[in-house]
Symmetry: C2
Subunit: 482 residues, 2 copies
Amino acid sequence: MNYRIVAKILGSILIYESFLMIIPLAVSVFYMESSYMAFIITMLIMIFFGVILKNTPLNSNTMKLKEGFAIVSFGWLISSLFGCFPFIISGAIPFPIDAFFETVSGFTTTGASILTDIESLPKGILFWRSFTHWIGGMGILVFTVALLPAIGASGFQLFKAESPGPISDKIVPRMKDTAKILYTTYIIITIAETILLMFGGLSLYEALVHTFATVGTGGFSTHNSSIAAFNSTYIYVVIAIFMFMSGVNFSLYYELLKGRWRSVLKDEELRFYSILILLGIVFVSINLFGTIYDSAGESLKQSLFQVVSITTTTGYVTADFDLWPTFSKVLLFLLMFTGGCAGSTGGSIKQVRLLLVLKLVKREFQKIFHPRAIMPLKIEGRSIPSDVVANVSSFFTLYVMLFVLGTAVVSLENISMISAASAVAATLGNIGPGFEIVGATQNYSSFSAPIKLLLSFLMLAGRLELFTIMTLLSPSFWKAER
Amino acid sequence: MNYRIVAKILGSILIYESFLMIIPLAVSVFYMESSYMAFIITMLIMIFFGVILKNTPLNSNTMKLKEGFAIVSFGWLISSLFGCFPFIISGAIPFPIDAFFETVSGFTTTGASILTDIESLPKGILFWRSFTHWIGGMGILVFTVALLPAIGASGFQLFKAESPGPISDKIVPRMKDTAKILYTTYIIITIAETILLMFGGLSLYEALVHTFATVGTGGFSTHNSSIAAFNSTYIYVVIAIFMFMSGVNFSLYYELLKGRWRSVLKDEELRFYSILILLGIVFVSINLFGTIYDSAGESLKQSLFQVVSITTTTGYVTADFDLWPTFSKVLLFLLMFTGGCAGSTGGSIKQVRLLLVLKLVKREFQKIFHPRAIMPLKIEGRSIPSDVVANVSSFFTLYVMLFVLGTAVVSLENISMISAASAVAATLGNIGPGFEIVGATQNYSSFSAPIKLLLSFLMLAGRLELFTIMTLLSPSFWKAER
């Protein structure tokens, strides 16, 4: 492993992160909050370490897969480690493990919080908290790649290790251009939602903060009761639409921009994602109508918001779904394992993987009666290579394994099985709220420090598509290259 | 589809089942219970329909895969349908859907019961109830095959459709001989356990009834409190040992008989199964010691019995594990998804499949650093063909899907999520007890009729390795052959 190049790039990441902190610093100064000092101190620390790391003398410029994995994994880790300083220094979250959990939750766009009273915190701090969603949403690394011509061709390896979904297509041949296109789309969507939320009566500050969490499918709010605090159908609908949009493969927006409507409409994953959400909304609405809400409209509204929020792994809430009938709760729990489309900011298993394993099962049934037929799996008419199929099967199994082992460990806290299982599902899938003690109106504050660290690891594992970060746990990763 | 040959063989199955009923009839007569009439009436009905079906004139003798699947699936269904008559006629279980559920639970060796007071029932009826476990354990069809030379070579197709596990080896070339060997082993183990239980002070009747449920990995008892009623460490240990033995691939006993010790000790699945059980016992014991039991011995004993019982999918209980700490409960819940070895009487996913998907995940990690290497999956040094790997992945996915969809439907009863999920896991995996409303001291009586039918379907699906019975749901199955 070329440790030096890894250190060098981690240095750049730190420096970029310190530049990004100028924005929450400005917010702090604007609102004349004393917490502005916390940002200045953090930025100085980051620049100090960043410059040292960046000036690591290189023996060689070679960067292989191992280095790529190390940069992605440690990049997220180091960003969270330094990113939590403002919380600690300002006293907003005095306990370092809590601050780390909150920052990992931000960057991984999870939205799980250890805060019991969000509203008491300074505006600049809350701005930074939500801003981490926005940064994490598109991937710190895509960002870094777009601004780091130094890495050159190796950039694609980083992108591949980080980009969500099994098949990472380059939209345009040059990595740097791809990053720019995705980034521009991201900014346009951000601006659009901010304006629409301001039309609904939100201040620029509130609109921005909630937009960051929506487009990054994060879920942090400035209100203790999340989106329910606005109590406005307009706001609910705008956020729901943008949550849905943020769960769509971003490359489809580029297709739209190029006028390729037909290929967007024919996108199999988009169809699957839309149908799944639609079915979820219909079943939950019917279940809620008459049991929880007397009005069909209210049932539909609450069902729609929660189903979209959970499926896209955002985790915003407008109702305490822990009080809903078991059927609705089970459906929401299951939707925690679906997630956004590949190439979106959503987490969890991802729609295309589910589509693929369902096709795998279907083929197995067909094989029973045609044992000698060769039936390649196809998505959009293109055969999926058998190694991708094996990878997706393994991903699915590994996801189930992490969920299952995580639940076992978390259950050592002696909380209810549903609390333990949903806390793991909600962190591994980058969703945020779960059920019971981590339910819609609850938070993650009551867990012990080791469990908070475990859940932080699960958030990172989920965000980095499991294999990336888990390779760091394998001894062969650290073996010297021959 | 050659409906005629299917009907003919189903007729034979019914006639054999009626012969098997002579034993519970004898028990009824011996104890001078009025329920003996229920058996006589049932036997007459079965012989009547059996003879009619058996005399179906054949157009052709051809039997293909479709016919094999139909015979296996309908064989289990028809056995349960007629097998529940004694319960209904005797008045022991007056409601037909309850009686059907109980009989399916018996034949599939699940052991889930709708009875609230088992002890009030006649001995002959309870004998039949447990005897269904024994019959189901080795498979009604292996039984029928061994005695039905008429089917000849096609017998192997039946066996393949029914035998548990992904790789069905014929131990000896001739199907009939294989069946005889398995059957003989089964009888020897049955006699051994019966004698050992009688040494522990049980009457021949009690020893037999509990042996049937142990070797079939069923779980029906004659006591409301299951095995806890005996309150004897000797009995606990004997039953635990035989549960463990019944979860082992039966062909290994043939190897032992042939003196091939080494190949048994090197059996990868057996090792995996033993290690998993050992780990389960250790973790649960440690968790129980000090929290539930003050004595280490008691913790070990209760942990051992419950872990072996759940892992082998027997479902006998000696303690109300619903009162255990969450960690132990989560581990037991997870063990519900493991099951016995392939070729054992245990249900659920089966150890060899878990071993294979774990190897699949491991290979995926290796592939990251050696993307071009070709790494076949191996079990005991033999490469597993890629279509078997795909089949196992699909099985795993389908199992999860059935669990998940089943849980959603059962949750319509508005019971707790854990009740719904564990009821589905415990029926699909042919275990028996679950948690909360279907917990160790509870039963399945409170479910509505449609849910009882759904759970019966899941028991059959689980017992017949998912694909077999689910092919019946596919329209292409019923299409006329060209």
